[in-house]
Amino acid sequence: MQRVASPPDGPIADKKPDEVPGRKPMIVAENVHKWFGGFHVLRGISLTVHLGEVVVIMGPSGSGKSTFIRTVNALEDYHRGRIVVDGIELTHDLKNIEAVRSEVGMVFQQFNLFPHLTALQNVTLAPVWVRRWPRKRAEQVAMELLERVGIPEQAHKYPGQLSGGQQQRVAIARALAMQPKMMLFDEPTSALDPEMIKEVLDVMRNLAASGMTMVVVSHEVGFAREVADRIVLMDSGVLVEEGTPTEFFQNPKEERTRRFLAQIL
């Protein structure tokens, strides 16, 4: 339950230095560029996310936040630079792109639950078909996850019968079912009514507290203050500023950040 900020007690000498919790880089992006036709969306993004870290990405609409987060699990390709996820470089000719994706959970703004499957089937789908778990075991794990996100009683309902907040929690459980090493969230609460935002943020808080590596695109200031280890501001395809929540909110270095904060606070 405790954050992994400080190295654990006891001998760590027999571990390689980059395996010390909090040190191991899970996502390394170096000078990433991407164009949509003639439009330069990502203009040299460099960001490293370490094991157990929670990074919140903020920024105005159209600044390329979604595009960047989607390059991390290769839903979008990129044209220059380098992205390494858990030691595997994402290249065009990467044979097992699915293997990388199965280690990276993703939660979408629009939930994207599979409407023809029940909540439980949504969660068991990937473990059964990708991990090849027996159905029994997959269902057991799925039920545990649905309990963890607080909706075990909705297991046999279809997405169309669930509220937005419930759907998004199923979507989180679905991503967690693959036992991913890190989770990406693309504005997970922006499509939700205010009263449902909290239930989703609570789930994400618990997830962060359990030590999950997370990259979250979000404008939830309270959540960012409380949970983020680092906040970055993205604007027009570049990372403008990066800092701890205190630095970011109380003492921003860049004029651009101050203007952005003036708008959302």
């Binding site: 959970g105 629009q110 994207n112 990937a126 979507a171």
Partner: protein, 370 residues
């Protein structure tokens, strides 16, 4: 659409205490039978005139039809030839095989229906329900074996397949064959491989550009020309091939419509879970796409079923072909009305059943619910 029960409910509710808010069904509009008639049939003077004219027309036509059906028409032609209509020239002493097919299919149908409905309660039913597609798939060779013979049964040559039997066989083979072929063509048309895409488009657009009758003629006349001497697939088989090839092009376009209706986010979510692309198509895209186009697909099947009547023109004796030969019997010369009315009724029964089944299926799968 069906206001009578509503009106009844309304008059029932009148005598009850007003329901408390938040309890009971929503109140029905309070209309008696007279009120309903006034509101729906005589709301304005021209609606009133229209109603009167329609009722008069219905009455005049209806009584004449009934008089013809029960007094004038001579149904002997149907009664005497019933077996010919249904089983055609299938050997008399082998008729039991057709009954066996009917029983077998009906049994499988009832079992499927039971399993579908009991799947929630009984694990065995759920087990069977998951294997229903397989069961139906395997039933196909069984039916073919029963009808055609071989492996212990005397072979009945396809030239003896006729009547409703032939019509149904053509339709079933057409449906079973064109469905997967259509899906493959639809996927091919959206493939990222240019060659596959081009071939699919070429095929679909070529076939959709010509009438079915030309394809059937080509299958009968041209096909043998291209084949080496001595290889002569039989006429029924060739007609089946023609129907499958024709229908699959239309099926492909229907399925493509469904594929386009699946949001991009579905594919992305599936890929993000690490599913390989063929599994994404199989588990996520196709089920949603096919559900969305059930009405169109069933419509296609119904029109295929009726289109099988065109094989009569290339010399096969399907239901309409048999009808023509019955009309040539000396004692029934000129009994067109009776014969074709009966034939139409048979077509209608099957088409309407398919329509009903499709609506049931749509409801079961909750199309349009989300």
């Amino acid at each position: 659409m069906d206001p009578q029960p509503q009106a009844g409910k309304a008059s029932l509710q009148r005598s009850r205490a007003l329901p408390q808010p938040g309890e009971g069904p929503p109140p029905a509009p309070r209309l008696g039978a007279v009120g309903w008639v006034r509101q729906n049939l005589f709301s304005t003077w021209y609606n009133g005139v229209l109603t009167v004219v329609c009722v008069w027309l219905l009455y005049a036509a209806g009584t004449r039809v009934l008089a013809w059906v029960f007094a004038t028409a001579q149904w002997t032609v149907v009664r005497v030839n019933l077996r010919l209509f249904l089983a055609g020239r299938y050997p008399q002493d082998q008729t039991w095989r057709i009954w066996a097919v009917v029983l077998f299919v009906a049994g499988l149908g009832v079992a499927s229906w039971a399993a579908w409905n009991a799947a929630r309660r009984h694990p065995a039913a759920a087990w069977f329900r998951r294997r229903l597609p397989l069961a139906w798939f395997l039933s196909f060779p069984v039916v073919v074996w029963l009808v055609r013979g071989g492996a212990g049964l005397p072979v009945v040559d396809t030239s003896l397949w006729s009547g409703l039997l032939l019509t149904l066989l053509l339709a079933v083979v057409g449906i079973v064959g064109s469905f997967p072929l259509g899906i493959l063509l639809a996927l091919g048309r959206r493939s990222s491989l240019p060659a596959v895409r081009a071939l699919s488009i070429l095929y679909i657009e070529t076939v959709r550009g010509v009438p079915l009758i030309t394809i059937l003629f080509m299958a009968q006349v041209m096909f043998p020309v291209f084949m080496p001497e001595g290889v002569r697939p039989d006429r029924v088989l060739r007609a089946m091939a023609g129907l499958v090839l024709f229908t699959s092009a239309y099926m492909a376009e229907n399925v493509r419509g469904g594929l386009q209706a699946v949001p991009r986010g579905q594919v992305e979510a599936a890929m993000a879970l690490g599913l390989k692309s063929h599994l994404v198509v199989l588990l996520i895209v196709l089920p949603q796409a096919l559900r969305a186009v059930i009405p169109a697909i069933v419509g296609q099947f119904i029109s295929l079923f009726k289109d099988t009547s065109l094989v009569a023109i290339v010399g096969l004796s399907d239901l309409t072909g048999i009808a023509r030969s019955i009309l040539a019997q000396p004692q029934f010369l000129g009994r067109y009305a009776e014969v074709y009315l009966f034939v139409a009724l048979v077509y209608w029964i099957f088409s309407y059943s398919m329509s009903l089944a499709s609506r049931r299926l749509e409801r079961q799968l909750g199309v349009g619910e989300r």
